[in-house]
Amino acid sequence: CIDSLEDYNIDPKRATVGTAPGATFVANAERNLVRTINSANVNLNPFRFYVQYWAATDYPQESRYDINTRDINGGYWNALYRDVLRDLREAKTNIAADKLLTEPVKANQIACAEVLEIYTWAVLVETFGDVPYTQALNINSALPVYDSQAAIYADLITRLDAVIGQLKPGAGLGDYDLINGGDMALWLKFANSLKLRMALTIADVDDAKARTMVASTVGKVLASNDDIVDLAFDATFPNTNPLYEDLVRSGRNDFVGTSLFVDQLRTKEDPRLDDYFNPADSPAAGAPDFVGGEYGASNPYDEYSPAGDKLRQQTLPGVVMSYAQVEFMLAEAVARGYIAGTVTEHYNAGITASILEWGGTQAEATAYLAQPSVAYATAPGADYREKIGNQKWIALYNQPTEAYKEWRRLDTPRLTKPATANSEIPLRLPYPVAEQNVNTANYNAASSAIGGDVVTTKLFWDKR
């Protein structure tokens, strides 16, 4: 009688593989990508600590670079591989097999998934170094080898060039596209901006290639704050902005600004100060309302400035790529001599875009730029790296993953580790413990290939 009972093994509550529309996987991947790179959760994303935007209140371990206790590296790795990349692969398969889609729509949908995949791979490589790539995302290679980070990056650039040619006007993912609303023109700008970003990432190791890449993106990148590539979060949990979850919903008060960051914002009368931070509840006698805590130490919450109200909104968009970021990249490209133009113009445009993005006015931006400590010509710093790097650091406040990469690449601002630090300031995340346990042989090979699985190992593009 059991021969006729095959349905006993069919889960009556879940969709069987192959049956769900591919675009739903892209939507899920977009959601998970944006949440992961923007989260402030101490189990997932420590980068607001590492670039010293924030200090901890009562539980400073993660700000002292304790990665192991909460398996932060594992959380980050798993989210990108399992919850983003794997779903993008499934999306491509299901879109290609979907009989209800026309060929042009299929091609556009798959191309969008490909751009997201490249972006995610880039983040993984920039965070860990060598990672499984050629054998990844294949259950039949359950223990994939690690590929060289430089080789992966080169391949990603090749793939990006290819996909830029495949993004065509017309219909794409439609409403399933949570970040670009199905706007194929915007996808093309995003892909070019990503190319610009990846070019500058390797600029210190492959100047010629970076130059060529940057040149090919001229006029094709994000052009205004209307073009910001972001995901508008929903007002209803669990699709609210992850910051809302960690700052408001949790009822916890875990973070305050650092003195390094808040003091700079305050002394330069930065119009973003009261957006980035709230005044301290009860500052120490004589202290200003906006005051930062000591990085790496424990800080009394009510004496220091916590994250601002704007960051506490359910629907605060999570940014994948900002226009301000693009302008700072263009400024750098000019400074490097890759493209024509003036550094100052793009530098000013980047700062202005950032101030407007946070609700400031053009007048506020102009006043801010007029300060000698802000104006490009007179801003402190030996070279463009420091001048641009410092303003970019300020502007990337709500893009912690990008900020962490740019801090390592531009080495600005100068950060010092706290006295109680567990290690030097991490220049990468170590591989997850699970990889050490499960994928041991390949882990060991990768570890020695990159020069040791430690936080002080510099990644291939981090030459200075």
Binding site: D11, P132, T420
Partner: protein, 1060 residues
């Protein structure tokens, strides 16, 4: 002229009355038989001089009559005869003599002697090879493993069979709860049974004993046979009450020198009294006691100053340690356990009707679990050939305010985590009680700020939490069977039987409005059904003179289904105190399929046969085979056959003239058992995350299923010797065994870079080998006084022999605190990993800051949770009608990681975080003032450490927020402790009223009064401030991990047993 002699015959081992003993006047046929409680009355002629007492399985006793009118007799078992009947697989009754495998039978009264309301916990320490780990929560889980952990990911819990009905021992605790993440411990379902209804419990350990049960038998079987009616009409009433207090050695002892805060300073930013001077304010948000030193002359604003209704509202109060620490939070637990059984029977049948009521109140406020069980069983011989029987057991378990476990969950706040890890020693628990009672509001000590209307930062008022955010649950259950046996011939009968186990569970969890975090409500409905249809033919024949044969052949059809739905509110509650899904603040999200909405079915068809050949009651050979077809496997691999062969040799039959040898038997056996997969692990499905607004989302499931699965197999070999000496006053039973579980169906961890967490494969081999030793002795035996010792000892060695190709180690679970449980090739199951000390020449390396240097990775092996050995020793003394019994339960070895210690030491709670250092200075003084802690170890050059580590919380002007002892500055290995214990588990003093007295009360056959105690004394343990036995839940995860541990409860009570 005849005279009347009365008396009572008891079993010297248990002190219980022996029914059915033949009492004869020696040399005559004048005699009587003892009644249900062992008493007898006999009219003897004047010429009579001696009475003989005989009973099958016991050594016959002779007594001179003299002038006595009352003669009580104790009888000991006669191992030489060993015709004791043991219930074995499928309910087949066999003489102990003929068993060729290890089967331990525990009598019902031995389980209930200390009036444990949970029949499984009542087995603890009594059976070799059985490892029972109890939880200290009210009505909580009991983890039972027999002969070690065999399956890496499947259940290792034994199968429970009650009167032929396999019953679910399911546990609804969430995965998060089982790994210490928080949630409630709802206990397991095998406790839905009246302990007083148990006649015997047989523990079948090896596969040779269990193979007939099919695929579920690989973890051993606990076979419970309930009492049957006896001839005549009998009524037994048990009424008992117990009370319990916490064992203070299992609760934290606070330091009393320093108060709340993560830094040794007060907040000084506000002027509360308006005198123009900034006032000191305790750091209200800080859930730690690493704050300023107590000083009664210092007036400080504390939480009471901001709590309306408090006598100190608006006032500063002296900075002193609380008079009442959280140990005063615990109440006296109580249990009322009452039962009544009515039974009766005649030559044509019997019946039994029972009722059991347990009213259990726990040590936490607002906690109770009540149980009502009604059962009926009856049998009738319709014709001389046809016997029919039926039994049914209804139970209702209702809980309210069960204990939250682990770290706190979304709808559960574990106050032990609060008290042991995150507490301010200046907070008085009685003041919190008053604060709550004032207006039933969440008046907490852990305010987010001193401003009016401030709410809790991390912790609620514990009384508010217990009284407002409680859970409720109920489980209604029915199990029973209907059977008919037709005797075709003396040598052949056929049994047909239908059994059903059916339960419905309902759990509601609440988190009250104004609580820290998001208030809410969660409901969980679960339904489970299992039906079995058995048809079994039994043969019995003597083939030739001296060669006997018993056999059976049969078929079993099993159908199981279970499903559940969990639904929760989203974002909060609109109306406070209204707990319904529709009261959700934000739109509720649909239950996630496969996680919150689950429907599974399983079917197994089995055919089996077994035969036992006996030669002159001396040599026995058992053969069995079973073939199962399981729906959980792909069609092409779904049938599997497994055999067993066992032989027993009663060598004492050849040594009858050796007078000191009472009995001797050797046995050896081998068996295999197959096991199917977890349902729905064959075909791949998608996860369905909550839709994003109107956009549906899908995601690839984290576990890759497998269409090529084949059955898992356990191969088990066993050899043993049983011997008894000196008229069976001394004896032992030793068994060695090895079990290899191969082709394990495991969701093997894969590199997450594959896009999956895990993949179902057949892979891996785990070996368990061990020794079980049971021994008994009667050092003293006389008419009035006997002393009996029963002891058992078990040593199991577990080793993971192989895993998935090339994978050296896989993670079973990971826990807060950076610790994980792992299966590693070449190591025992469940090895704990985390950060370790760094060692230099075998000494712990201390850095230049005086602190231990931690290992670079969190992947070091830091503990093995498996005990080296376990054992139990029970002593029984009988003197006339008084019986004294006590049981010592021992676990030696095995490690446990304590998150309570890791955090508690960090936040400065336990007494050793304060006090004086080796210089005689307060260790919390700055190092510059002679403070600090000198950790034992060596410096980088190998010389002994001379640098004191800071314990003041300020280094280079920075607040470090942690003591020198806690997790911040120490590796996880610092919080791994030896989990050994020696416990005085059970004590009972029973007094049976003498017959002389009873004869004056009409109709009363027996009155037993007993005083009982459980867990009275932890004689030895090495885990500070907690009970090393306390388990989070049932299952493979969570072993060797302790967080938010509940204190052990010492229980004392009294019981009266009346029989009519």
């Amino acid at each position: 002229q005849n005279r009347n002699i009365t008396g009572r015959v008891t079993d010297t081992a248990t002190g219980q009355g022996l029914p059915g003993v033949t009492v004869l006047v020696k040399g005559t046929s004048i005699g009587a038989s003892t009644s249900a409680d062992g008493s007898y009355s006999l009219s003897v002629p004047a010429t009579a001089t001696t009475l003989t007492y005989s009973f099958i399985g016991y050594t016959s006793v002779e007594r001179p009559i003299g002038t006595a009118s009352s003669i009580d007799v104790g009888m000991g078992t006669d191992a030489k005869q060993l015709s004791e009947v043991v219930v074995t697989a499928l309910g087949v009754e066999r003489t102990r003599n003929s068993l060729a495998y290890s089967a331990t039978q525990v009598e019902g009264q031995s389980i209930t002697v200390a009036r444990n309301p949970n029949p499984i916990n009542g087995l603890s320490g009594k059976v070799a090879g059985v490892n029972i780990r109890q939880s200290n929560t009210l009505g909580g889980s009991t983890n039972v493993t027999i002969r070690g952990t065999k399956s890496l990911f499947n259940s290792n819990q034994p199968l429970y069979v009650i009167d032929g009905v396999p019953i679910s021992n399911s546990n609804t605790n969430t995965a998060g709860q089982q790994t210490g993440g928080g949630g409630y411990d709802y206990g397991n379902a095998a406790s839905d049974l009246n302990p007083d209804d148990i006649a015997t419990t047989t523990i079948l350990k090896g596969a040779a004993a269990t193979a007939l049960y099919g695929e579920r038998a690989s973890n051993g079987v606990i076979l419970i046979t309930t009492k049957k009616g006896r001839k005549g009409l009998g009524v037994t009433i048990n009424a008992g009450i117990t009370g319990g207090r916490i064992d203070k050695s299992t609760f934290i002892k606070y330091q009393k020198e320093y108060g709340g805060g993560y830094y040794p300073t007060f907040t000084r930013t506000r002027d509360f009294d308006g005198d123009g001077v900034i006032d000191p304010l305790v750091r209200l948000t800080h859930d730690a006691s690493f704050g300023p030193r107590f000083d009664p002359s210092l007036q400080v604003y504390q939480w009471t100053a901001f709590t309306p209704g408090n006598p100190n509202f608006g006032k500063a109060t002296p900075w002193v340690a609380a008079e009442n620490d959280p140990s005063k939070f615990f109440k006296t637990a109580s249990t009322l356990n009452n039962s009544i059984t009515i039974d009766g029977g005649n030559d044509n049948g019997y019946f039994k009707l029972g009722y059991n009521s347990v009213r259990d109140k726990g040590i936490l406020p607002n906690s109770e679990v009540n149980k009502n069980i009604v059962n009926f069983a009856g049998s009738l011989n319709l014709t001389p050939r046809l016997t029919t029987s039926a039994s049914v057991n209804f139970s209702q378990v209702k809980g309210q305010g069960r204990y939250a476990t682990g770290y706190s969950g979304a709808y559960s706040e574990n106050l032990m985590t609060n008290f042991r890890q995150w507490w301010q020693t200046n907070v008085d628990i009685k003041e919190l009680e008053d604060a709550y009672n004032y207006q039933q509001l969440n008046a907490t000590w852990n305010l987010s700020s001193p401003t009016a209307g401030a709410t809790g930062q991390y912790w609620n008022n514990p009384y508010f939490s217990r009284n407002q955010s409680y859970e409720t649950d109920s489980r209604y259950r029915t199990f029973g069977n209907v059977a008919a046996t037709y005797k075709f011939a003396d040598w052949f009968n056929v049994l047909g039987r239908v059994t059903l186990d059916s339960y419905d569970e309902f759990q509601e969890e609440r988190y009250a409005v104004t609580s820290v975090g998001v208030p809410g409500y969660s409901r969980y409905n679960r339904v489970g059904r299992e039906a079995n249809f058995d048809l079994i033919g039994n043969f019995s024949a003597n083939i030739t003179e001296g060669v006997s044969f018993k056999g059976l052949a049969g078929a079993n059809i099993r159908r199981e289904s279970f499903g559940f739905v969990r639904s929760t509110t989203n974002g909060g509650l609109v109306v406070p105190g209204l707990y319904s899904l529709s009261n959700s603040l934000e739109p509720i999200t649909p239950p996630a399929p496969g996680i919150d909405e689950v429907e599974t079915k399983r079917g197994v068809d089995g055919i089996f046969a077994s035969g036992t050949f006996g030669y002159r009651d001396m040599l026995f050979l058992d053969l069995t085979a079973r073939r199962d077809k399981s729906t959980t496997l792909p069609n092409k691999n779904n049938a599997f056959i497994y055999p067993s062969v066992a032989t027993g040799f009663v060598f004492s039959e050849l040594l009858k003239d050796v007078s000191w040898l009472s009995y001797g038997k050797a046995r050896v056996n081998y068996a295999e058992v197959g096991q199917g997969a977890t349902p729905q692990s064959v075909f791949d499905v998608y996860d369905k995350p909550t839709a994003f607004g109107s956009i549906p989302l899908f995601s690839v499931a984290g576990t890759k299923n497998n269409e090529e699965l084949k059955p898992e197999r356990t191969k088990s070999g066993e050899a043993g010797v049983e011997m008894a000496f000196l008229q069976s006053r001394l004896g032992f039973d030793v068994t060695v065994y090895q079990q290899n579980t191969v082709d394990q169906i495991i969701p093997v961890n894969v590199s997450r870079a594959s896009g999956y967490n895990s993949r179902y494969v057949n892979s891996g081999e785990v070996r368990n080998r061990g020794i079980e030793l049971t021994a008994f002795a009667s050092p003293f035996r006389s008419d009035n006084f006997t002393w009996t010792i029963n002891a058992n000892w078990t040593r199991n060695r577990n080793e993971v022999l192989s895993l998935y190709e090339g994978v050296p180690s896989i993670q079973i679970a990971s826990y807060q605190g950076g610790v994980s449980s792992n299966a590693t090739v070449g190591k025992p199951f469940g090895m704990l990993r985390g950060t370790n000390y760094t060692y230099l020449n075998g000494q712990r390396l201390v850095g230049t800051n005086g602190r231990y240097v931690e290992s670079a990775t969190a992947n070091e092996e830091i503990g093995n949770p498996n005990p080296d050995w376990t054992g139990g020793v029970a002593n029984t003394f009988n003197y006339k009608g008084i019986s004294l019994y006590f049981l010592v339960d021992i676990r030696h070895g095995g490690d446990v990681f304590s998150l309570d210690r890791a955090y508690g030491l960090d936040t400065g709670l336990p007494d050793e975080t304060a006090g004086l250092n080796e210089l005689g200075n307060p260790s919390r003084d700055p190092i510059s003032q002679g403070g600090g802690v000198l950790l034992s170890g060596v410096q980088a050059d190998g010389s002994p450490n001379t640098v004191r580590a800071d314990n003041s919380g300020i280094v280079d002007g920075e607040f470090t927020g942690a003591t020198a002892y806690g997790t911040t500055f120490n590796p996880a290995a610092a919080f791994v402790y030896d989990a050994s214990f020696v416990k005085l588990r059970e004590v009972a003093i029973t007094y049976s009223l003498p017959k002389i007295l009873l004869s004056k009360i009409n109709g009363v056959k027996g009155v037993d009064l007993s005083l009982v105690g459980r867990n009275l004394w932890i004689i030895n343990k090495n885990l500070p401030d907690a009970d090393p036995e306390d388990a989070l839940s049932v299952g493979n995860a969570g072993q060797g991990y302790s967080t938010g541990a509940y204190p052990a409860v010492r229980t004392i009570g009294a019981n009266i047993r009346l029989s009519f």
